[in-house]
């Protein structure tokens, strides 16, 4: 059907925090945007029944964090009108989000949105940051516990990705979607239906996140530790199959660490001023407090070599970081404490940590490990994981932690894997084509992309 190596296939990896999309065969995704939408009205919010679902997260110990249902997001850049998604006549849906507003995803967003106010809201395509910060928004993510729960939101995000970011017509390009390792059969069929019925794609392939990462590191058998924005997933891959039952997910991801750092700094009296609150020569939209905290995390934090304890780290030298408003802050033990939450979440609260997950999944077999995902870019994380695993595994087991040395490769390993796969000449016979879909139906996806 598609000859040669030059196929303009599109590869999409929708993570819980960001969605990566781009052309197959390229080194990095063309578009990286938040996988969440905001729903809001430009008139003051007045519907009481919605209030309980909408609250600021003011305490890091909030129980909602433990359930992994908090989906903070940032960088409000794009905005467009929803046509098919939520389907409410007088509503505005925006991809991107607002500063600091972390909202629990309602269990049934449709129901809540259905009762949204009958305000005569208007669509605004662009507003000043200050104005936006005053507006009230829902931030909705399609993910719940690492799997897609709301397909309407997925639809809006994909629609945005195709039409605003990649500027393509989905009818013309085969699509390779990276799916969460824990996806079940219904969800895969649902994805196939959406792609063929709504977007009328000529061909589709669903590849598991963990498999793509594992392959991109040259291994067909491995244990993949994918530490991303919204969650950390540990998935064993054997000969290109994900062992579904053994996949484990922890709600601790990069976003959670950013929260920890912010709170920790605030408790020391350091206030991070959002960029919009002071005047600058150049106004760049979409850079808020979270973003700054996230940048601090990425710049100065590193995983400690040994488990963190308050006494031994109290004397470490401070690292300076200059905030956008010019003031320089000194970050001491938080540099190490924050990443250590990944290993020992009891530093914050009692959630089972990454290590116990890793052990259960590996179940004493000498599987090589692999690190992927945005949070895995943390300095020294690889070394720490290797050391801890060696200590805790039986002597006979050989443990080898692999992680790409290149930060981009680590961050986008799933996408890059998909990109290479979809661009292979020999792969072109593997696509689940539109003709096959029409003949056999959506359930055929289980045969084509096992």
């Amino acid at each position: 059907m598609y000859g040669g190596d030059e196929v303009s296939a599109i590869v999409i990896d929708m993570g819980s925090h960001t969605c990566k999309a781009g052309y197959a065969g390229e080194d990095a995704p063309k578009a990286v945007f938040p996988s969440s939408i905001t729903f809001g009205t430009s008139l003051p919010f007045h519907h009481e029944s919605l209030e309980p679902d909408f609250r600021l997260l003011d305490n890091i110990h909030s129980p909602s964090l433990g359930t992994g249902r908090t989906f903070p997001c940032h960088s409000f850049i794009y905005s467009y009108r929803a046509t098919t998604a939520i389907g409410h006549r007088s509503s505005t849906m925006v991809v991107g989000a607002v500063d600091q507003m972390e909202v629990d995803v309602p269990d049934n967003p449709e129901k809540n949105l259905g009762s949204a106010p009958d305000s005569n809201s208007t669509v605004k395509t662009f507003e000043s940051e200050k104005e936006k910060s005053k507006r009230k928004f829902y931030v909705l993510s399609p993910f719940k516990d690492g799997v897609i729960a709301d397909w309407d939101i997925v639809d809006s995000i994909l629609d945005h990705g195709f039409r605003e970011c990649l500027l393509i017509d989905p009818k013309e390009h085969p699509m390779l979607l990276a799916e969460p390792s824990a996806n079940n059969q219904q969800q895969r069929e649902r994805a196939a239906e959406l792609m063929f019925e709504k977007y009328k794609v000529p061909a589709l392939f669903l590849a598991k996140n963990a498999v793509l990462t594992s392959f991109a590191s040259g291994r067909a058998t491995s244990l993949v530790v994918d530490s991303g924005g919204g969650s950390t997933t540990v998935a064993p891959v054997h000969d290109g199959y994900v062992l579904q039952k053994a996949v484990l997910t922890s709600p601790i991801g990069g976003e959670f660490l950013t929260d920890c750092l912010t709170k920790s700094l605030e408790s020391k009296g350091i206030i991070i001023k959002p960029r919009y609150s002071f005047k600058r020569k150049e106004i760049r939209p979409g850079e808020f407090q979270r973003v700054i905290a996230s940048d601090i995390k990425e710049c100065v934090c590193r995983a400690p070599d040994t488990p963190y304890d308050e006494t031994s780290y109290s004397n470490i030298p401070m690292t300076p970081y200059e905030l956008p408003d010019g003031q320089t802050i000194e970050i001491g033990s938080d540099r190490f404490k924050t990443p250590d939450v990944l290993f020992n979440p009891s530093l914050v609260q009692t959630i089972p940590g990454m290590e116990s997950y890793v052990e259960t999944a590996a179940s004493a077999r000498g599987l090589p490990q692999m690190l992927a995902g945005g949070t895995a870019s943390m300095q020294q994380l690889k070394e720490r994981l290797e050391k801890d695993l060696l200590e805790e595994s039986p002597q006979a087991a050989r443990v080898k932690v692999l992680a790409s040395g290149n930060a981009t490769e680590r961050r986008f390993s799933v996408w890059i894997g998909g990109s290479i796969l979809a661009s292979l000449g020999s792969f072109q016979q593997m696509w689940f084509s539109k003709a096959e879909y029409e003949e056999h139906g959506a359930s055929y996806i289980q045969r084509k992309c096992p």
């Binding site: 392939f205 498999v211 040259g218 067909a220």
Partner: protein, 137 residues
């Protein structure tokens, strides 16, 4: 068929040579590479060659598949041999190459009937002679 398999074809020569290694024992090892859109035979090693000759024949920054016929004596003083399949993908090789080899491995291995032990290695320490010995017993 594994998830995300590349659909790479296997040259008949691979199967023939492997059969010779297995049945006639005319080779100590065979290495395979992916060229164009199929897996083809890369190099052979005669029965006299050692394990070191074999490891030296693997390129340092390119992926390969290899089969190695390992002769050994068990604790009960019994002469035995086992056929090893090794997926060699060094850390220094390009991502594209690693991806291609890893996603084609399952299909290729199925074509070679009679492999007893399988190894994957990203650096020489993972396929040292000690590891080969411990896996054979």
């Amino acid at each position: 068929m594994a998830n995300a398999a590349s659909g790479m074809a296997v040259d008949d020569e691979c199967k023939l040579k492997f059969h010779e290694l297995k049945a006639k024992r005319t080779y100590r090892f065979i290495t395979f590479k992916i060229e164009g859109q199929q897996v083809v035979v890369d190099k052979f090693g005669s029965p006299e060659e050692s394990y070191d000759d074999f490891t030296n024949s693997l390129p340092a920054d390119e992926c390969r598949y290899a089969v190695f016929d390992f002769d050994f004596t068990t604790d009960e003083n019994c002469q035995k041999s086992k056929i090893f399949f090794i997926a060699w993908s060094p850390d220094t090789s390009r991502v594209r190459m690693k991806m291609v080899y890893a996603s084609s491995k399952d299909r290729f291995k199925r074509e070679l009937d009679g492999i007893q032990v399988e190894l994957q290695a990203t650096d020489p320490s993972e396929m040292s002679f000690d590891i080969i010995k411990s896996r054979a017993l």
